[in-house]
């Protein structure tokens, strides 16, 4: 019994701390201008949707949303595709070899992004890809590949080779075995990597700032940074925008959460 109460308490605490700061901030989206910075603060908002209307109409959030969806979505698809293929190879290649490749890949993830920004910018200019979707997507793929590769390689390694052996004996090609046996069983890993990739691409700021100056192509983080005028920080609109920008992500997680934890059934593993 004590365990159950302790558990319940833990759940409540986790929910509380995750949500409350965000809710407090987002409640500003429903307030009026003078209420937001009132001293002392008033935590119950006078209900007003002005900021949402302003954020959408005046600040054009929906365009930024569209661009972010395109960029983050494409990045995720490409990264997971590449990482699933390469991860499979790394999982099945001799350990020492694969270990070296993984460390090299890790090294790529370690370099500070702000230093990469300049050279990447010049590269994109060379290709004529500034202010294009692919100009942002490809660097994002490169930035998210290391984590995706590590997650998927370790996941694929967990798959006992007997399962594939069975498929191969049945006449599958190597890739066929991968597609039919290994991938479905790695669903948790795939979806975890996908969500992390998506969120990373969704939230990346510095590269997007330098590469996209065409308002038609700018993504959410840059868009929100543009809310600020000279010396003005429109807390209300920013709070409304945060609400709008987080909603798709939460929806995504809710939709796919079964997959994240829809783990291996013991039978399949024991096989």
């Amino acid at each position: 019994m004590k365990a159950k109460i302790g558990f319940g308490f833990g759940v409540a605490l986790a929910g509380f701390f995750s949500l409350v700061p965000f809710l407090l901030f987002v409640s500003s989206a429903f307030k009026t201008q003078t209420q937001i910075t009132a001293v002392p603060p008033q935590w119950r908002p006078e209900f007003s949707l002005d900021f949402f209307i302003s954020a959408i109409g005046r600040y054009g959030i929906l365009d930024y949303l569209k661009n972010s969806l395109i960029v983050a979505g494409s990045t995720t698809l490409i990264t997971i595709g590449l990482a699933a293929l390469a991860g499979y190879a790394l999982a099945r290649l001799p350990r020492k070899w694969a270990g070296m490749v993984l460390m090299a890949v890790l090294a790529c993830a370690m370099f500070p992004q702000i230093a990469l920004a300049g050279p990447v910018w010049r590269l994109l200019r060379l290709f004529g890809w500034l202010n294009t979707y692919q100009g942002l997507i490809l660097p994002y793929v490169a930035l998210t590949l290391p984590l995706a590769l590590w997650i998927l390689t370790l996941f694929f390694r967990e798959m006992p080779e007997e399962l594939e052996a069975a498929a191969l004996v049945d006449g599958c090609t190597r890739l066929g075995a991968w597609f039919r046996v290994v991938l479905p069983l790695s669903a948790p890993g795939l979806f975890t990597a996908s969500i992390l990739c998506f969120i990373y691409a969704w939230n990346e700021f510095f590269l997007a700032l330098l590469i996209m100056t065409d308002p038609a192509k700018q993504t959410m983080p840059v868009g929100i940074a543009l809310f600020q005028g000279e010396h003005t920080v429109p807390w209300g609109e920013i709070a409304a925008a945060s609400f709008i920008t987080t909603a798709p992500l939460v929806l995504l997680v809710l939709l796919f959460q079964k997959r994240i934890v829809g783990g291996l059934s013991a039978g399949a593993v024991k096989g």
Binding site: S18, R92, T192, I195, S242
Partner: protein, 294 residues
């Protein structure tokens, strides 16, 4: 692995390698080259002479850089510790079946899902000394007791740490959760049948088997923590009096604000080297058994 699979496997590695080479390895190489040159963007007449290790020598003697390194080390140590611990607890929580589990999972992901530029603004707002809701939560309407969190060096650093832990504990939780999913349920059943307590089940089953996921979380968290930038930039601009002037922010100021392209690149290379060394240490100490055969 059958030997005739080798060509296939090598081919599978090509697309990913290509992307990484072009968009990361090449720029990294360029940055490293720049770190050996003396370049001031605003003074192009001085050219870009090759100065060998001078930038690094200067970095070594730069008191602001040393201070930045100290601050960053404190930041990395604290945030990684709290995030991994909280992440592990959260993951264990979410791993159990209970009604509302999906909702909690989504809740817990919200901090990570918000763009850092937004959450940085949010924390700047929440920690405000006059209308910040944190002061309100602690002291209610007694405004004379409000604390100016971001105005004192120590509390400013703590505030930035708190903001980062809030944001990233869920990243760690998600990673560790994925790792927990792989542990077969029967092991727990068998242990329960054998009369093992919850702690023993954790120690004997969970802990060893969740290590790979923990390692990934530790590795990537440390890497990211060393490169923290947005939080300090928005909340405090590195102040007060450089108390939150983390290394990446210092590098940014040197490179993009002051125009010391060579020196700024050297700061980035320094961060890179430190993180690389740490990663090697982790993999050696913790990961060896993990990386090799199960």
């Amino acid at each position: 692995m059958r030997s005739r699979d080798l060509p296939l496997f090598l081919v599978l590695l090509v697309p990913a390698s290509l992307v990484l080479l072009v968009f990361i390895a090449a720029p990294v190489g360029q940055s490293i080259m720049l770190s050996f040159q003396r370049i001031i963007i605003g003074l192009p007449q001085l050219g870009s002479p090759f100065v060998g290790l001078d930038n690094y020598r200067e970095l070594f003697h730069d008191p602001v850089a040393r201070h930045s390194l100290r601050i960053t080390a404190i930041f990395v140590g604290s945030t990684t510790f709290f995030e991994l611990t909280l992440g592990l607890l959260l993951a264990l929580l979410i791993n159990r079946r209970f009604p509302g589990r999906g909702a909690l999972r989504a809740c817990v992901l919200i901090p990570w899902a918000i763009p850092t530029v937004v959450s940085a603004q949010m924390w700047r707002f929440l920690f405000n000394d006059a209308y910040g809701l944190i002061n309100y939560a602690l002291f209610g309407a007694e405004t004379h007791r409000y604390v100016a969190w971001l105005a004192h060096p120590l509390t400013a650093l703590l505030a930035v740490i708190a903001a980062d832990v809030w944001k990233t504990a869920s990243f760690a939780a998600l990673l560790i959760l994925a790792g927990l999913q792989v542990i077969p349920e029967e092991l727990y059943q068998a242990a329960k049948v054998d009369g093992a307590s919850a702690w023993q089940r954790f120690r004997r089953i969970t802990w060893p088997l969740v290590r790979p996921a923990l390692l990934i979380a530790l590795l990537f968290r440390t890497i990211d923590a060393f490169r923290v930038f947005d939080l300090a930039f928005v909340m405090t601009q590195g102040g007060p009096a450089d108390a939150t002037n983390v290394l990446q922010l210092y590098g940014y100021k040197k490179m993009f604000v002051e125009g010391w392209l060579g020196y700024g690149s050297a700061v980035s290379v320094l961060v890179f080297v430190i993180v690389m060394v740490l990663a090697l240490v982790y993999v050696r100490l913790v990961g060896r058994r993990v990386m090799e055969a199960r």
